[in-house]
Each structure stands twice: as structure tokens, then as C-alpha cells.
């Protein structure tokens, strides 16, 4: 079975703090893909980052970075120097099982000025 778990329901930080969003996934596929999406109040899901299952190299893109560890089935996402505009709900997603997407329940991030 495929499953994505985001244990953090809501996180509040003060602007300029770093924040890490946790994601744990389950899949029996050997090849799969992991994504992070941001959902502002407007409703549209905005693609942020992606990672293939066969590439565990962690990267940094601007203020975003991610830590992918197959050994623990985790795909954590970090925002450095958070800003008020980062306030949104963040979803971790798994693409597996014949290219179906499975989303976690989301983590609401509140960045206070």
C-alpha cells in the first residue's frame, strides 16, 4: 500500500526562523517520486520540489532544501529564513503505483512577523 504521513498538523514560527516539515512515506515500488507542494489560501497547489527514489543527493534551491533518506523513508523539507509569505499548507506527495499521486494530510505553517 502507498501512504504519506505528515505528523505535524500545524507549526508556528517567527519570521527569519528556519523551519523543517516532516514527511514519512510507504511504498513497495522500487522506483517512485517524491514531491512537496504549497497550498496558499487561494487553493491552488503549487509545486515546490521533487526527488527520485534512486537519487538520495540532498539539494538546496534558494531558501528551500530537502533531506531524502530511503533508510527511514523520510523526505523532509526545510525553509531557511522563513517569511510571512511562506504561510500556507504544505503537502508531501508520493508518485507510485502506476504513476498515481498520494498526498499527506498537510502541515499548516504560520509565519508570524
Amino acid at each position: 500500500a502507498q501512504k504519506v504521513t505528515q505528523a505535524q498538523t500545524e507549526i508556528s514560527v517567527v519570521e527569519k526562523e528556519d523551519v523543517t516539515l516532516d514527511c514519512v512515506y510507504e511504498t513497495r515500488d522500487t522506483t517512485y517520486y517524491l514531491f512537496w507542494y504549497k497550498q496558499p489560501p487561494s487553493g491552488e497547489l503549487v509545486f515546490l520540489i521533487r526527488r527520485n527514489s534512486f537519487d538520495e543527493q540532498n539539494e538546496i534551491s534558494g531558501r528551500y532544501s530537502w533531506n531524502f533518506q530511503k533508510s527511514t523513508s523520510s523526505f523532509n523539507f526545510t525553509i531557511t529564513a522563513s517569511q510571512v509569505v511562506d504561510s500556507a499548507v504544505y503537502f508531501c506527495a508520493l508518485r507510485a503505483n502506476f504513476n498515481k499521486f498520494y498526498f499527506g494530510s498537510g502541515t499548516k505553517l504560520n509565519v508570524k512577523p
Partner: protein, 116 residues
């Protein structure tokens, strides 16, 4: 470059009624997927359309049906509405056979359906 567009943005229906939601994919995309997002939850996969055929389906009853047109746009139909069908319905587009299998879905702003 037009993104994914959905209509209407909001809809209020009564239990037992039927509803049709519409979606135009991002320019260049040929596949449309529909998702249901209940309040406080992540999106749940309903089904996917490619070449005017339903290719994959999630765990949703037959009351949920769809259609894809030759121009790749799509409709989601829900019959015999229940209170529990109240949710944000998101349309996502992609390429069925893309060079990079890790291509993301592109989402529209969604249609907020309220069933009373």
C-alpha cells in the same frame, strides 16, 4: 502560457442533485486528473483521463464520473449528491508520456462545492 483553469469557482447544491465541474489543462498537457480535498485533508485521487478514456481510478463510487474532450479539457460529474461530497475539487494536468517520469502535476485553483 495558460495554466490549469477550472470553473466554476464556487457551487452550492442540494442533496440528491447532480453537478458538473469543468477543467482546461495547461497548454501542451494531454492528461487530466481530478482530486477531492475535504477540509483539513490532503487531496484524494478520483480518476485520470487520457485520450478521452478513464485510465486510472481511485476509491470513489460510480456516482463520480468524468469525460475528456478532444481538446483535452475535462468534466467531472457527481450524481445523487451527498453532504459528504462537500469539498474542494482540484483538477491537475500533466503529460501522459513525459520524458522525465518525475514531472509534477500542475493544479488549478479548484471548485469549492457545498452540498446542503
Amino acid at each position: 502560457d495558460a495554466g490549469v483553469t477550472q470553473s466554476p469557482t464556487h457551487l452550492i447544491k442540494t442533496r440528491g442533485q447532480q453537478v458538473t465541474l469543468r477543467c482546461s489543462p495547461k497548454s501542451g498537457h494531454d492528461t487530466v486528473s481530478w482530486y477531492q480535498q475535504a477540509l483539513g485533508q490532503g487531496p484524494q485521487f478520483i480518476f485520470q483521463y487520457y485520450e478521452e478514456e478513464e485510465r486510472q481510478r481511485g476509491n470513489f463510487p460510480d456516482r463520480f464520473s468524468g469525460h475528456q474532450f478532444p481538446n483535452y479539457s475535462s468534466e467531472l460529474n457527481v450524481n445523487a449528491l451527498l453532504l459528504g461530497d462537500s469539498a474542494l475539487y482540484l483538477c491537475a494536468s500533466s503529460l501522459y508520456f513525459s520524458g522525465t517520469r518525475n514531472s509534477p502535476l500542475h493544479f488549478g485553483n479548484g471548485t469549492r462545492l457545498t452540498v446542503t
